[in-house]
Symmetry: C2
Subunit: 240 residues, 2 copies
DNA sequence: CGCAATCTTGAGAATGCTCAAAAGTGGTGG
DNA sequence: CCACCACTTTTGAGCATTCTCAAGATTGCG
């Protein structure tokens, strides 16, 4: 029985059978949610804690003029902030990008679990630190890298994250987001994302067929992006 | 006896006299650190928890080509990640921008304090959530806003944060960073920061004399930046 | 007072944007 | 099963914002 949450947390700490059971029970309440659906909305009081067990989600903020900035991708095994209940209002929206399975758990239930399973609590704290490090890396991406480098970096990171939960082969994975969504992620326009993708293909670095991304030349893609997986804390972070 | 850490945390929770005492003891070990000094370096194993009690610091990451991205400013009352001890390596450097007073505390000492003072623990969790929300807002800033808007937003945020710890008047504060550092913060070049500052002055929005920033027209600066202070969770977030 | 860092200015160039339209894709209802 | 429609991807051309390089002015510190 595949459970990305368990697979992810086991990358950080040792889990007991009881821990794994608890996580299985968490994931068992997951429900199907269609693509492009808001899960929690900016400005609302925080409700439940959310876990994604299947599909890709994102966090985003929107400006009055409609401009949108995606601030994170959520892959299976990811959660929203655990401490979310400490806030009165959320500062951003969480939505699905592809069809997802989403588990919602009350803050109380989660507190019970973390109190009874310190290993889980510890792993989730580590996971939160990684999310924050990823956010910093995205800021570096938009602040310091060229268009081509940004896309390359995003793809490197996405592939490594999916590999960590067993949802990618060594060189390829699903890439459900549209070019428009990639644009909202990287602070570029759709047109320029399209041209950058073509350039990556022309250089023989990647192949994009439908919603599938295949990395053809990992060393060169990695080096173009100046991608160092350390901040993701996954095993084999220096792999390839 | 002025203590920005206490002032900040009291914005989030009620503190008892014992809580305040503990925080006073924390701040009492603060030592002087000159401007432009690294406090903890990227790639090193995490050492102590750091508190800034005076002066302005920053977090940054650097690319191989020397390009630097500042990912956060630290103002008095701010700390580095509390959970830092859970990591093997830091993903970014923390440094002073102006001369600072910095307190270093071992993870053990801090754990003792948070265990004996739940209100402090809670306030620090809230503080960490705000730091993360601020990071998201910076991503929006660089990803979605024009050069002029970015600087305007940065100034709005900086002034509100300093006001929250009593280090700014209603319309002005110290601004110790150079234009080069503002450039590293906003993903622009020094030259363009300079021209944007001139434009803000030309429009009568701000006044910059030496290291002092004075906002001349808060409503228009705020509206240009589309600044909404909600994510900072300070009292009077709707002020002006 | 002098040096180094910071700020300012100018001019040309490049990266990425805007607008517009065409081509391709997928899903849905008749 | 086909036709249609909406969405996504692709292409072109002109343009704006921002960058690069270079040099001069100003400031502050030792």
């Amino acid at each position: 029985m595949f459970n990305p949450l368990i697979q992810k947390l086991e990358g950080f700490v040792e889990l007991s059978d009881a821990d794994r059971d608890a996580l299985h029970r968490l994931a068992s309440v997951a429900r199907d949610v269609p693509a492009r659906t808001n899960l929690v909305r900016e400005g609302e009081p925080p409700s439940d804690i959310i876990f994604i067990t299947e599909g890709i989600g994102c966090r985003f903020k929107q400006r009055a003029n409609g401009a949108r900035q995606i601030t994170a991708y959520l892959v299976p095994g990811d959660t929203c902030d655990l401490d979310i209940a400490l806030l009165n209002r959320l500062d951003h929206t969480i939505a699905t990008l592809s069809p997802c399975k989403v588990a919602r758990v009350s803050a109380t239930t989660l507190r019970e679990i973390t109190e009874n399973h310190p290993a889980i609590a510890r792993a989730m704290r580590i996971s939160a630190l990684i999310d924050e490090a990823t956010l910093r890396e995205w800021l570096v991406n938009i602040g310091c890298r060229s268009a081509l480098e940004r896309i390359a970096h995003l793809f490197c990171e996405f592939l490594v994250r999916l590999r960590a939960v067993g949802l990618a082969t060594e060189d390829s994975c699903d890439l459900p987001m549209t070019q428009h969504e990639l644009a909202d992620t990287t602070g570029m326009t759709t047109v320029h994302v399209n041209r950058s993708l073509q350039e990556l293909r022309r250089r023989g670095l990647i192949e994009l067929k439908g919603k599938n991304l295949k990395v053809l030349d990992w060393p060169r893609l990695r080096s173009l992006a100046e991608f160092k997986a350390g901040y993701l804390r996954v095993d084999g972070q220096t792999m390839f």
